[in-house]
């Protein structure tokens, strides 16, 4: 528990650091925000000055920095240049579809990845291994936007089995497959090497010498240890998943944070981009914290080291 508290406390400086970085980067963007906002529409000096004052842009950098941090901490990150709506509300409105896609993608990715990885890891250097490894490699080599288009063509246009657009669960099938494939390949390879590594340890030889049947040697002794590296990588996998969601949403013209981000960048809607970055970092840090806790549950060595404070 002390460990958990310590980790939460440790989050604060990291959040602070990243938000500072975000602030600096957005300060460095060439072009006056107000000009960007007006997007070339001619306006009088007075209108521009008013806008600047309203956005607080006439204040010195340091003051704006402090204001930014304060507002970031309470989740008030200004309003969109384009819609004039508060960005936090805009983002909240789009979180749902993206989470839905990410969860479905994770499900597909972990299932396919575990299946291929375990199969290959249990029978290394056989044709099963070769087939699984090749499939995993092919999976991570597929450009997901292309996979998406091909799936749309085959199942949407040619066969007409699933709707291509829509908000129903059936419209989620193809996007989930595309997003899942994006992470399945890497995950499968990780699981495979981790199983092979675990089954080569001395304690597996001990288990054999005890006369245990293969099912217990592999299923209990090897798998429990083999799970540890993939779990530690889960944070990275989730981040990959978010990356996959950006592309998938675009291909399937789904609403969501990915579409929002690409549009915001193309429209130079800086407050929106900035807010997306701030929230993504926070989400990532929290997810990693949870992954770390799970990690401790699986590996008693980590748990005890944490309790001891080493």
């Amino acid at each position: 528990m002390t460990y958990f508290v310590r980790r939460v406390v440790a989050l604060i400086p990291i959040l602070f650091l990243t938000w500072t970085a975000v602030f600096i980067v957005f300060e460095l963007i060439p072009g006056d925000p107000v000009n960007l906002m007006l997007a070339g529409v001619p306006a009088s000096e007075e209108v521009i000055a008013n806008e600047r004052a309203r956005l607080g842009l006439d204040k010195p950098v340091l003051e704006r920095y402090v204001t930014f941090l304060g507002r970031a901490a309470v989740g008030d990150l200004g309003e969109s240049f384009r819609t004039r709506a508060p960005v936090t509300e805009m983002i909240l409105a789009q979180v749902g579809p993206t989470l839905q896609l990410a969860a479905a993608g994770l499900l597909v990715g972990l299932t396919v990845g575990l299946f291929l990885g375990v199969l290959a890891g249990l029978r290394p250097n056989t044709w099963i291994d070769t087939a699984c490894t090749f499939s995993a490699l092919a999976g991570s080599s597929l450009p997901s936007f292309w996979t998406g288009m091909v799936l749309i063509y085959i199942f949407g246009s040619m066969l007409g089995w699933v709707p291509i657009v829509g908000t129903g669960l059936d419209a989620l099938i193809l996007p989930a497959i595309v997003t899942g494939l994006f992470i399945a390949g890497d995950f499968a390879r990780l699981v495979r090497s981790s199983i092979i590594d675990a089954s080569r340890q001395d304690y597996i030889r001990t288990a054999r010498a005890k006369g245990l049947p293969p099912i217990k040697i592999i299923g209990k002794h090897a798998l429990r240890n083999a799970l540890i590296p993939p779990v530690t990588m889960l944070g990275i996998q989730l981040s990959n998943l978010m990356g996959g969601a950006v592309v998938t949403e675009n291909v399937f013209a789904r609403p969501g944070l990915g579409t929002m981000l690409v549009d915001a960048v193309l429209n130079k809607d800086m407050p929106l981009v900035q807010a997306l970055v701030v929230y993504t970092t926070a989400a990532y840090l929290i997810i990693n914290l949870l992954v770390d806790v799970v990690y401790g549950l699986i590996d008693p060595r980590i748990r005890h080291a944490r309790a001891a404070g080493t």
Binding site: T2, V5, R6, V9, Q201, D202, Y203, R205, T206, A207, R208, A209, K210, G211, L212, P213, K216, H221, R224, N225, I228, I298, D299, P300, R301, H304, A308, G309, T310
Partner: protein, 624 residues
């Protein structure tokens, strides 16, 4: 010697046992292949119930492979049994050939009738399951019954291997135990189904000497309690002498000698056995000489053992001002931190250590793992910055040295490590590695001059000069250590810090390296700080001995005094733990757990400093 040898030096079938007791296991003509290489060739041996047979050999002799074959684990290690039979009398009294047993039946024998103890207790247990679970698992597998009964069984076993606080031990994880305790758990696991044959594969090699003696005693006691037969696989002739009824000597996969332990030790028949026994350093054999002696070494050439070199008293110490003086050296490392990152616990690696080394002298620094002996070496090498204390080299204090002088010092003081392969860059030729100190310090100019110097040095340490273009992995362990010694010579070092430099080598090679070090000392007046845990080797080469315990020097003095009449209880215990390679002088040892406590302490409670008292000229002992 009598006309009829009491034992055989020939590779033939299992030796018939005179008293007619049917053997428990008969190995006949066992041949094991890994790919195209034959690891074991036509090895035969027999073991009767309640008997201990030691299988002895150096690395690559096939002794571990023999053990794995009996358990039927060869296919899992990537090899195959290419010939021979393993006739084992199972509990129902029938003889079964284990090489022909289908895997499911073999599984019923493994762990139940034949159990194994492995070398590495640190990795032999699964890190994610509790000790209790891992022992109970074997019981459940072979005996069935309830989980509760299995747990009770596990508790009994933990008590049986004399683990203190067995109840609490059940729920501990392996990483919470010391190496010796883990090995006891492994033994408990092996004994869980009362096996009739126990195979112990180098069960103590990874442990400290004092712990080793406890574990060996424990295996002996349990053997007597349970009546199991034991196959003891080891490279250590001392352990063989202390434990075995019969000995089987393996050399390059073949059995070269077999017989009851006493005649094998007193009248070895095969040249290899003779060489092995000659090479074993025997503690106390030079107790009458005040100075160590450079002994001849026995080498094998074309199957014949031959003694090389003469005996020479190592009278090399130059009295007067010391070459190195260490005063009050203290090194502590923070290890545990609180929420705010402040240190709460630190390891007191070295506490106020003081000693001096004369030119041409060998000072041995003895102690077990965690005693801080290596940290002393690192501080002298400037690899660790001490918290306090002063080191003086050739009259100049480290703290008073300029950057230039400190660099120069790195030439004068050179290290040789336990693992020579790791200390040579695998991507550079050995010639380049040896030349490195010459290039760093600009000792010789010109590529050709450096090259010829390197070749000269390789020749000096007994390597072929024309091999200077090869890479470290192309050499054997002993050859690599010679390369490291050549590198120290290239630096024209005056003090060599040898940290367990011969510990990882086979005894026959070890004897050669010790002789080389001593010859070089006589030739060049080298000083050695010989860091070791091996008392017998220390006695053979050191002029003076310092014993370290929990970061402090508890006894220091001339070799004869410290080893011949040790005063500190720890020194006495250390010496008493060394196995004696003489089967006629067996001693009964204690199997109780007594382990060196941790050198980690809370920040605000430093250890009580010891005070050394002179008990004889130059012999200082900590007051207890």
């Amino acid at each position: 010697m009598t006309a009829e040898p009491t034992h055989t030096a020939l590779a033939e079938g299992p030796r018939p046992k005179a008293d007619g007791v049917a053997p428990l296991l008969e190995v006949d003509g066992l041949t094991v292949r890994f790919g195209r290489a034959e690891a074991v060739r036509e090895v035969s041996l027999a073991i009767r119930p309640g008997e201990t047979v030691a299988i002895v050999g150096e690395s690559g002799s096939g002794k571990s492979v023999t053990g794995l074959s009996i358990l039927g684990l060869i296919p899992f290690a990537g090899g195959e049994i290419a010939g021979g039979s393993l006739r084992f009398r199972t509990a129902d009294g029938a003889f079964r050939d284990l090489t022909r047993l289908p895997e499911p039946e073999m599984r019923r024998i493994r762990g139940a009738e034949i159990a194994m103890i492995f070398q590495e207790p640190m990795t032999a247990l699964n890190p994610v399951f509790t000790v209790g679970d891992q022992i109970a698992e074997t019981i459940l597998e072979h005996r069935g019954g309830s989980a509760r009964a299995a747990r009770a069984g596990a508790l009994d076993l933990l008590k049986k291997v004399r683990l203190p606080d067995a109840e609490a031990m059940l729920d501990r994880y392996p990483h919470q135990l010391s190496g010796g305790m883990r090995q006891r758990v492994v033994i408990a696991m092996a004994l869980s189904c009362q096996p009739r044959l126990l195979i112990a594969d180098e069960p103590t090699t990874a442990l400290d000497v004092t712990v080793q003696s406890q574990i060996v005693a424990l295996i002996q006691e349990l053997k007597e309690e349970t009546g199991a037969a034991v196959i003891f696989i080891t490279h250590d002739m001392g352990l063989v002498a202390e434990t075995a009824d019969d000995v089987v000597v393996l050399y390059e996969g073949r059995k070269v000698e077999e017989g009851p332990v006493s005649p094998v030790f007193s009248a070895p028949q095969h040249a290899y056995t003779r060489m092995l026994l000659d090479a074993v350093p025997r503690l106390g054999q030079c107790a009458d000489d005040p100075l160590p002696s450079c002994r001849p070494v026995t080498i094998m050439e074309h199957g014949v053992a031959r003694k090389v070199g003469d005996t020479r008293v190592q009278d090399t110490v130059v009295e007067g001002s010391p070459l190195l003086k260490v005063e009050g050296l203290t090194a502590r490392f923070d290890v545990v931190h609180d929420v705010l990152g402040r240190a709460t616990h630190r390891v007191h690696a070295v506490e106020a250590a003081s000693f001096a080394i004369q030119p041409g002298e060998t000072l041995a620094l003895v102690g077990e793992s965690g005693s801080g002996k290596s940290t002393v070496g690192k501080a002298i090498q400037q690899l660790v910055r001490p918290n306090s204390g002063e080191i003086t080299f050739d009259g100049t204090r480290y703290s008073a040295m300029s950057a230039r002088a400190r660099r120069r010092l790195k030439r004068d003081v050179h290290s040789i490590f336990q693992d020579p392969l790791a200390s040579l860059n695998p991507r550079r030729t050995v010639g380049d590695s040896i030349a490195e100190p010459i290039r760093i310090h600009g000792l010789i100019r010109g590529t050709d001059a450096i090259r010829s110097r390197v070749r000269e040095l390789m020749d000096r340490v007994g390597l072929r000069p024309e091999h200077d273009g090869l890479y470290p992995h192309q050499f054997s362990g002993g050859q690599r250590q010679r390369l490291c010694i050549a590198r120290a010579l290239a630096a024209e070092a005056r003090l060599i810090v040898a940290d367990e430099a011969v510990s990882a080598l086979d005894v026959s090679i070890q004897a050669q390296i010790v002789r080389l070090l001593m010859t070089l000392q006589a030739e060049r007046q080298l000083s050695y700080l010989f860091i070791s845990h091996d008392m017998a080797v220390v006695e053979e080469m050191a002029h003076r001995v310092a014993v370290m315990y929990l970061g402090q020097i508890v006894e220091i003095g001339p070799r004869q005094a410290v080893i011949g009449s040790p005063r500190h209880p720890y020194t006495q215990r250390l010496l008493a733990s060394v196995p004696v390679p003489d089967p006629d002088r067996r001693v009964r040892r204690s199997s109780d757990v007594s382990e060196v406590p941790s050198a980690m302490r809370p920040v605000d409670s430093p250890p009580e400093p010891v005070r050394l008292v002179e008990v004889a000229p130059g012999h200082l002992v900590a007051k207890t």
